[in-house]
Each structure stands twice: as C-alpha cells, then as structure tokens.
Symmetry: C2
Subunit: 476 residues, 2 copies
C-alpha cells in the first residue's frame, strides 16, 4: 500500500525528465519562469521546453512537441490556452508521459459548458493513457529535495512540511511568507480544480512520505468526502495536520465554486471533521503560517497556561483578553515569583501579575524570563516587543539588540517553550527595519516570532488543542 502510494507520486515529485509545454521566450511568462526556477535549483534531470514557434529558451533546445523529444518524459507542465490542452494531452499519451501539471485556467471553474467539456476531455484522455493530472488551473509543484519546481523563485531549502493547496495564490504567498520565518517544505502542491488528483490523494501521499512530518493544506472542497475523512482520522493523530478551509460562508462557498469549481460543504460538517479527526483548524493563511511555527519548533506546550511578558498596561489588558478569548489561560504569578521579581522591578508603572507589564524594566528581560520560567505551571511564555515604541519612549533602550540578546540568553537555560511577537505601528520604515532585524535575530536563535498577539494566542492554542486530542485518544 505504502510503496504503491509513493510510487504513484514518484513521477510528480522525483521526475527524471520534465517537459514545459507552451514555454515562451517572455521571461515573465509562466513557462519561462518555471524553466528558470528548475535551472536555478540545479535540477539534475532532462529539461525540455516545448513550443513549435520558438527556437531556444534560456539556452535550451526547444522541441516542437513532446512526441519529438528523443528521450522519455516523466512529467510535463502544460501552459497553453485551455482549448489547446486536450491536443497536448493526446501527445502526452502517445509519448508515455507519466504525470502532468496543467497550469492553464479556463476549465470547469468558469462555470461554462465549454470549460466543463474541456475538463471532461482532459480527464478522459488522462485515463486512457494512465496519466496522473495536477490541476488544471493551478501553480503546480515544488520539491526542493529533487530540485523540481513550477513555483518561480523557490528557495530550494529542504524542510519537513508537506503542503497542498487548492489556491495557487495561497501557495505562492505561503512560500514567500515562510521564507523569512524559516519554515521549509518537503513538498508543495497547488492543484486547482483537482480533475484527477484531489485533496484525499495528496493527504494519502503526505501521510506515507517519510520526508513530510507535518501536513498542511488549503482546501475549498473535496470530491470524495468519506475517503478524505477516513484518511484524516487515521493520519492526523500520526502527523500534525493543519487545515485552512476556504469557503466556510455562503459567499465564500460561491467564490470557491468559481475559483476551483469546488463544492465547499457546510461549516457544521467541517467542524465535526475537525473534532473527530484531530486535524487542526486554522482560519487564515496567517494562522496557518503561525501555527506551523509552533509545530515546526516542536514547542508542545504542556497545557493552556501562558505567561505573557511585555511593556504597557493597555497592551497587557489587550493581551489578556486576546489570550483568554483564544482559549488560553493567564493565571496570576505565584507570590514567590512576584517577590523575586520585585527585588529589581519597582512597583510604580509596572505590574507583575500576568501579563507582566515591565515598563522600562524591559531591559531586565533575561532575568525576568528565567524567574518566570521556574513556575512549572506554565505551558509557554510569550514575550511581546514594540521596537519603535520602546526605542522612542524608553530611554533605557538605546539599542534594540540589548532586548533580543536578553531573550536569547534566557532561552539557553529554559525548558518551557519561549516565543515572541513584535509589533510596530507601520508608519514609516524605521520601525519596520527594527522589526525585521529583531525578528531575524530571534528566529536564528530558534525562537518563533508570531505576527501578532492574536496569532501567538491562536497558534499556541492550536498546538495545545492537538496535544489534548492525542492524550484523549490515547486514554480511550
């Protein structure tokens, strides 16, 4: 079973030869970008641009059709107008291509009879030739291990997140967003209309793929709900499985239909799916990226209690409200902890209950973290930083590196998961530069940086929820 699944996807993620059908000279075209990306990644296999009207692209010989390529072709990316796709598919059958990715849009998602017919034709031809199809109407695949990618500008960094997405935009944006957060992928698939390979197939593959430890997906609908559910029930408890479900509202479901032709299903059904399978529900791409951080860093908060450290009373109240509304708890520090902190943090302008409002004493962040972390009740610590505000109004903070260094120092002796979030008011570039620098320093030191207090709260709550599901199902 396992071997069979892995084998089915081998020509997709590990093809020995790739054709890009409909490649254009224009460097902005999809085909030219895909070819350049594969070359840049250092793909060791054969790469064939196909176009009857073009001679050479990026120094490669261009063939008029796949059938005229001398060697075998395992995988083809098709980027010709929709009406021309069936003909290309016929040629792929003739050539013995194993799998194709159809970039072109203009199929069932248009809601037109013509589009639906074209898609049916593609499916029929693919069946005849035993070709696996990704798409149509999608961005295709990315596998850094094999140096194959149809996503332009892929980093090539190998990671352990297997991500499949019905939206090409979400896939491209998550790749961009992930890079600075040091989230790396084993494989990424954007699969659009899912005329052949669907969510359930990718789920099955990533479950078996030894290179994927975490599964993430953006789905608008699944074709075989029962199969998807049965797979998920089995898989989510073995590998953390994060689902960003698009089309949870009436208008969203309609938008999903005209995006990928998907039938979204009711949100009540999906809520039941999450509850019964242990799959982690995320409601936005941001929540997906932030929740991935928690799982990738293997934070495993032991419970819902968090210590929140920051500067500012209003910020503290907001954080407490946000954390509690996300399902976390913010218990008061123990009297002994407060006593120890009070030895170097005066009372006026500060609060040491939890959230901790350190005010100007944020400069003692390393000592504060270490003392708070001695309280074993806490499942996680969140430090919230406001670089532009602190640099402007806290005279003691002359160089923001002093703050991040303190956090990094504290982390070294810590058992409790330590996380951070950084906010600037985004009024000019100064704050943004400080934010990027601070974020980079913390991430490089292994401290995940969430994009907001809300996202920190949701990501940690998601991780605890997953832990709780596992414990409950073990005890059953």
């Amino acid at each position: 079973m396992r071997e069979e699944v892995l084998k089915r996807f081998k020509p997709i993620f590990y093809p020995k030869s790739i054709a890009v059908v409909g490649a254009l000279r224009d460097p902005n075209s999809f085909g030219a970008r895909a070819i350049k990306t594969v070359i840049d990644l250092g793909y060791p296999g054969k790469l064939y641009p196909i176009n009857p009207k073009v001679d050479g692209i990026l120094g490669l010989k261009v063939y008029p059709s796949v059938t005229q390529v001398p060697g075998p072709i395992e995988f083809a990316t098709i980027c010709v107008p929709a009406h021309a796709v069936p003909k290309i598919m016929e040629e792929c059958v003739e050539k013995g291509v194993k799998a194709v990715h159809i970039y072109s849009a203009g199929f069932s998602e248009t809601g037109t009879q013509e589009g639906r017919k074209l898609e049916e034709d593609v499916v029929e031809i693919a069946k005849k030739g035993d070709i696996r199809v990704i798409g149509p109407n999608c961005e295709g695949i990315y596998c850094p291990e094999s140096k194959v990618s149809t996503f332009s500008g892929s980093s090539g960094d190998v990671g352990s997140v297997g991500f499949f997405s019905q939206s090409g935009g979400h896939a491209m944006n998550l790749l961009i967003q992930a890079r600075v957060l040091e989230i790396c992928f084993s494989k990424v698939v954007s699969y659009g209309n899912a005329c052949d390979l669907d969510g359930a197939d990718f789920l099955e593959y990533f479950a078996e793929d030894p290179k994927s430890n975490i599964i993430a997906m953006y789905i608008e609908g699944v074709k075989d709900g029962r199969r998807f559910f049965d797979l998920l029930k089995n898989i989510a408890r073995k590998k953390p499985t994060l689902i960003f479900k698009g089309g949870v509202s009436k208008a969203g479901a309609r938008a999903a239909e005209s995006h990928t032709g998907a039938l979204a299903g009711s949100s009540a059904i999906w809520d039941a799916v999450f509850k019964q399978t242990g799959a982690v529900k995320v409601s936005s791409r941001d929540e997906l990226a932030n929740t991935l951080l928690v799982f990738l860093h293997q934070l495993r908060p032991s419970n819902r209690k968090v210590a929140f450290i920051n500067a500012g009373g209003g910020n503290s109240v907001f954080a407490a409200d946000t954390l509690e509304q996300a399902g976390l708890e913010v218990p008061t520090l123990l009297p002994n902890t407060i006593k120890e902190l009070r030895q170097f943090i005066p009372i006026p302008g500060t609060s040491l209950k939890n959230p901790l409002d350190l005010h100007r004493y944020i400069i003692h962040i390393d000592r504060v973290i270490r003392i708070v972390a001695k309280d074993s009740r806490f499942g996680a610590i969140i430090v919230a930083l406001y670089p532009d505000f602190m640099l402007t109004y806290t005279a003691e903070v002359k160089d923001f590196r002093d703050i991040t260094r303190g956090i990094i120092r504290a982390k070294k002796s810590l058992d409790i998961p330590l996380t951070a979030t950084i906010r600037t008011e985004r009024v000019g570039l100064t704050g943004e530069i400080e934010r990027l620098k601070a974020q980079d320093r913390l991430i490089k030191a292994g401290i995940p940086v969430f994009s907001s207090i809300l996202m920190a709260a949701k990501a940690i709550a998601n991780a605890v929820g997953y832990q709780e599901f596992l414990e409950k199902s073990l005890n059953k």
Copy 2:
C-alpha cells in the same frame, strides 16, 4: 448646563498658563519632553518648569515651586515620584491652580495600601482647592487647537475626533498610527486611574464640545455606571461614539485592575450597553483606528452589501468568508454588470461574480470600479491590493502607480463609498515601501485604506450597524 461643562474643562484644554512640576534637564524625561512639545507646537501662553534643583530647561527659567511663580497658573502637569505628589498638590491649592494632570504612577493601581492612601490624599486636597485632576498614572492631554500637549511629538494637526483613553500606551500609539492615516483629533486625554475626572466626565465634555464630531474612547472601567450609561444613551445617537473596552475577559479584567485600578464589569452588561445606546463596539486599537476612518470619511454605507475587487482566487474566497463573518453581504453581480465587464476581461483565470478576481486585468481597475458602482444595491466597494505580489507576478503591472491612479480616477465619478486595503508579505523592505507609497497616494485622494481585509470588514460593518441603529431609533 452646556456652558458649565465647557467651562469646567477650559483650564484643561485651553489654559493660559502651564506649569510642569518636576521637570528635569534629561531630554528623555517626561517633563522635558512635555515642555519641548508645547514649545514646538507654538503654545502662546506662559510656560513654567518647576524644580527646586534645576536652573534652566530648554532656555526657560525654572521656578523652585509653583507658589513662587509670579503670574497665575491654570494648569499643572505633575511628574514627581508618587509620595511627593500630595505636597505638590497642597502648593497647587495655595497657588490657585485650576486643574492638574498627574503623570506619576504608584497610586491605587499598585494594589498596595500605601498607593491607595496616596490617591485618597490627592483627591482630598484637590476637593479642598476645587482642582480638577486628570490621572494619576497617565499621559495627560493633547489639544492641537490651543497648542497644548503632554504627548511628546504631537503633530498639532487639528481634527474632529475627541479621544479619551484609560491607557497612555493606547493613546500614544493611536496618535502615532493615526498620523499616517490622516486621522486628526480635536482633543486627546489619557486619564489612567481617574481619581477625579472619569470616563463619564470626558464623555459629557466631548458631547458638548463643538470641535469634536466623533467620540472615541478606550476604557477599562467606569466609576458611575448609571451616569455613564445615561449620558451614552443620549450622546451616541448625536455623535458617533466608538468604545474600545479593555478587560472583557477574566484575565483582562484582572490586568485592568492592576493597570488603572479599574473595575471592568461583566461583558454581558457591556454588550447590553452597546445594544441600547448605539455606541459602536470595537475590540482592538486597530479596529478603533480603522472604524474611525469610516466615520471620518463620512462613508455612510447605505446597507450591508459590498462589492469586493481584487486579484487571486484564494484571496477572493478568504475575503468572502471574512466579509460575511463580519456581518456584511457579498451578493453576486447582476448579469448585466458581468456582461459589460466581460467585454474586456476574458474568462480564464478570472471571476466576476463577487468577490471579483481580476487576475492580470487589475490594470483595468478604473473601468471595473465604474461599472460595478452602477449597481445601486451596493453600500460600499472595497479594493484589495497586493503590491509586492502584483509587481512580481503580474507582468502587466510595471509601476504600481498605474493601479492607484486608476482607483483615484474611478473615485471622481462615484457615489458609492470607495475604500481600499493593501497587503504585503512583510518579508523585506521593498513590499513595505510600495505599501506605504500606495497607501499615501490613496489617502491623499480621500480613499480610506484599511489595514487588512478583516479590518475593512469590521469597520464597514460597524458603520452600517450605527446607521441601522439610528434608523431604528428614528422609527420608534
């Protein structure tokens, strides 16, 4: 009544003379910042730094105590340690000071007996001398019209939003955030522990103040709930009144207590207050800023139906879900509208139902907006822009100014409120620079730019909710 209220606050917002008690030479100290701000704003009245140990500050003569200042003092800002405040207050009584702002922390918010006692003493002395008190434990006041401010770096731009905040941090940050969004204030007050003047007093003042057309507040608790409610019931229907209530959770309420000593009250009670008074509920500082934009631009969306224009199918699904969950509607475009748009927007890769996914045809944004706006069902139009993504992947977008110019052109002939939101992936500075530039161009053209799709949804839903309340109460 009205005259009385305005008169009570005159020494606070329009003082003819100001003393800064406890001013230090250190340019980072609160007092020195306050003095510099007042000088920079061009305050025409008398300004007296007070400190027995300092000779001159910023070129001004320093007096050893308020009692030794030759002329009268209407308003004093006190920034000495808490234990020294009662003595200063006694001197203020002797001097006949009309109102004070106590910056110092270390009073009832500490929860200590000493702190509570100090605050009681302050109240007693103030009563004796008929002095109005703002604070303690707060940032004070800002009135651009009179060029008075204890908030360093105030812009001095006169606007129509009256804002009072129990958190100094939220007040300072809203001022920073507001500047780039061109939100300007009539008056701002940060009033911390509210030992004398409380939320109800400020509410009463802003209701009568002819310079304040919109009232916004951040409150953690109110001392006289009945009075606050009665005022609000009367005021919110006359001037839009936005309330960001901190401490809505158990942990948040506790944090509020150690921040300003406030009793937060149950969230059920507050929900009833919102429902009965027509005050607009916002749940974060971001939602406050974004909702202010809608009221300031007087958008008055006629109903809950919005047209959402952007590029990207996944983005469209997410927007539809987000808008509907915020209580807005995203109805399908009329067949005639779609037909007209289809004359220049091909089917593949696009969707024209609503949300509109224009894909690369985003370059025709001006024509699209104009055609969509002919459909009088819509209460508002939202355009979502992704500058870094569009510049990277949409070959047709060579200069992002082409897009913003199109939107600005379209606005000229429009009756329906036109709004925008801009997202970048925040991975480097390029996207941020494009975002800031695009935001600036749109704002200068009178198009409000929300910070996210979620914030656009909430802000517009808040405005419609307020309209609906007004209509309902008119029909009663």
